[in-house]
């Protein structure tokens, strides 16, 4: 009799334990296997959002470009060039200007550190005949505002990334419309590499901690 009572008790407690274990599975709100699946499913009926980066772009001078299937904004360039338009000085052909000792020297500070001499010189991009514009390798006119067209002639991979948004710093906010820096907004075309410098942060506490 006593034994039966014990057995019952054991059963009861084991049952309780089992119940607790079964009912305690972690709550899962997500029904997707991975984040990529989730993105795929949830973006199917994407109808746009009210957040926009318009207000952050208001003060910027931008121009809209379309390259392939991508349409986005890039900063206008001409107004940022100090001595634009060029023909204000370049009133006569280059050879004449160079020989004219009365004129002030110009562009003396520009040193071309971009590719090597076999590949590039001033005239690869600038045209002696049309100072107000750039020129492509095949002597076609390229506006200073669209200078990326010049860069893409060699840097085609970067151009692809830039169009898609993997290259080139974003302006304004993350929302549409998209505005991205053009090549020359980050890279000096005459010296496109980034400078080395000291980092703007150093943590002395971390250093101490790890001693």
């Amino acid at each position: 009799m006593k034994n039966k009572y014990h057995i019952k008790l054991y059963f009861a407690s084991s049952f309780m334990l089992l119940f607790v274990m079964l009912s305690s599975c972690k709550e899962k709100e997500e029904k997707y296997h991975s984040i990529i699946d989730k993105i795929e499913v949830e973006s199917k009926d994407y109808h746009g959002i009210s957040t926009s980066s318009d207000i952050y772009l208001e003060d910027l001078k931008l121009i809209e470009i379309t390259e392939g299937e991508h349409t986005f904004l890039i900063p206008e360039r001409k107004s940022k060039i100090k001595s634009y338009s060029c023909i204000e000085c370049h009133t006569e052909p280059l050879e004449k200007l160079q020989n004219n000792k009365k004129l002030k020297e110009a562009h003396w500070d520009i040193k071309l550190i971009h590719a090597d001499k076999n590949t590039l010189n001033c005239a690869t991009c600038h045209s002696g005949n049309d100072m107000n514009n750039l020129k492509s390798l095949t002597d076609r006119k390229i506006s200073f505002n669209l200078s990326y067209k010049l860069c893409m002639q060699c840097h085609s991979k970067e151009f692809e990334d830039w169009k898609g948004g993997a290259h080139g710093k974003r302006l304004g906010g993350w929302a549409q419309p998209r505005a991205s820096n053009s090549c020359v907004d980050c890279h000096n075309p005459h010296k496109p590499g980034f400078e080395t410098r000291f980092p703007s942060w150093y943590n002395t506490k971390t250093e101490e901690e790890r001693k």
Partner: protein, 355 residues
């Protein structure tokens, strides 16, 4: 005031506390103990909650802090002189017993935020703006980091510290930039994440880590009081006032994404970023967790996080994963992306890629 989830005690109905003093046996008018201006620098939490103390109340506070809420009670029930002090005490009381932000209705969220703004105004005379903006539908934030582009300038780190009101004293930083040697793969153990020399250093590349806002965040699972959760737009946030400081989430995070306030955070008053969000960069107190929130105070308004804006190389890409035309989506679909410790099943929303 109906349907409140926090407990409130209407202390302003008390009538008798009009005269009497702070202990110097003078009436309020002549007592200048309360008038002594605090000239020393105040830290983050004290800027919000510090009640001017003399030695007696300081002692009282110290003992009272052992009891739940007794701090607030002692300030409010003891000799209160002016309406401001009374209001402060009322706010402190409501703050101590307010509910979990996640469970609040929008009205309650608003009331909480307004209370904090008012509290800051009462303590410092300065106005802050604090948002309680909710997640927008059809938004899921994601982040991509270009390892080839990062030059290790750490502009992101300092921008982040300034934007998010992090403790200057312990030099808390959410972002770490790891300087890795070429040819050794992603060798974190040998990488240096606290370098100070000219960068980029020859033969090295740079990789930044921060909170990855996992879609399956282990830190959220383990929190015993639901003080941390994933918002609908994918941002993993903390209710700093609900956190009990057990640091279980810190142990559970495989990415070193969380930080703890080991002591009172200190920020010079003039450096406090006054554009705040309740779940973002508002001032914290000691003993609570904090972390990167993708600058929720900025991103919910459509801005990029401070690190993205500060990066001079464009190595950081942020956007809406649900927008098929967003740049982040283009990166995910067209670049060879990977994430850290993918085998853990945490599903970070932070991808790395190379040119």
């Amino acid at each position: 005031m109906e349907n409140k989830k926090w407990f409130s005690l209407n202390l302003s109905n008390r009538k008798k506390q009009s005269i009497i003093s702070c202990g110097c046996e003078k009436t309020t008018e002549n007592c200048n103990h309360n008038l002594v201006k605090d000239t020393e620098q105040k830290d983050g939490f004290e800027q919000v909650f510090d009640v001017k103390m003399n030695r007696r109340t300081a002692f009282k506070k110290l003992t009272a802090s052992l009891l739940i809420g007794a701090g607030a009670v002692s300030t409010s029930c003891s000799v209160i002189t002016d309406d401001d002090t009374k209001e402060k005490a009322q706010i402190d009381w409501e703050e101590q017993f307010k509910g979990n932000y996640k469970l609040m209705t929008d009205d309650e969220k608003n009331a909480t935020v307004n209370r904090l703004v008012r509290s800051y105004e009462l303590r410092t005379g300065k106005t802050i703006s604090m948002s309680s903006k909710n997640a927008e539908e059809d938004v899921l934030f994601g982040y991509a980091f270009n390892i080839s582009k990062c030059k290790g300038y750490m502009d992101c780190v300092s921008a982040c510290v300034e934007e998010n009101n992090q403790d200057r004293n312990s030099q808390m930083q959410y972002i770490r930039i790891h300087e890795m040697e070429d040819g050794k793969g992603l060798n974190f153990a040998e990488a240096d994440d606290n370098y100070y020399h000219e960068v980029p250093a020859k033969g090295h590349f740079y990789l930044g880590t921060q909170c990855f806002h996992c879609d399956n965040p282990p830190c959220v699972e383990v929190c015993p009081v639901k003080a941390t959760w994933k918002e609908d737009d994918g941002i993993v946030v903390i209710d700093y006032d609900w956190c009990v400081g057990c640091r279980y989430c810190m142990a559970a995070c495989p990415y070193d994404g969380r930080r703890f306030n080991w002591s009172n955070p200190e920020i010079p008053e003039e450096e406090v970023n006054k554009e705040q969000h309740y779940l973002g960069n508002r001032l914290r107190k000691k003993g609570v967790m904090e972390k990167c929130t993708f600058c929720i105070q900025r991103s919910r308004k459509g801005k990029n996080p401070a690190c993205v804006d500060a990066c001079p190389t464009g190595a950081r890409i942020f956007g809406n994963l649900l927008d098929p035309n967003s740049t982040i989506r283009w990166v995910l679909e067209n670049k060879k992306v990977f994430r850290l410790k993918e085998d853990l099943g945490t599903e970070p929303k932070f991808w790395y890629f190379m040119d």
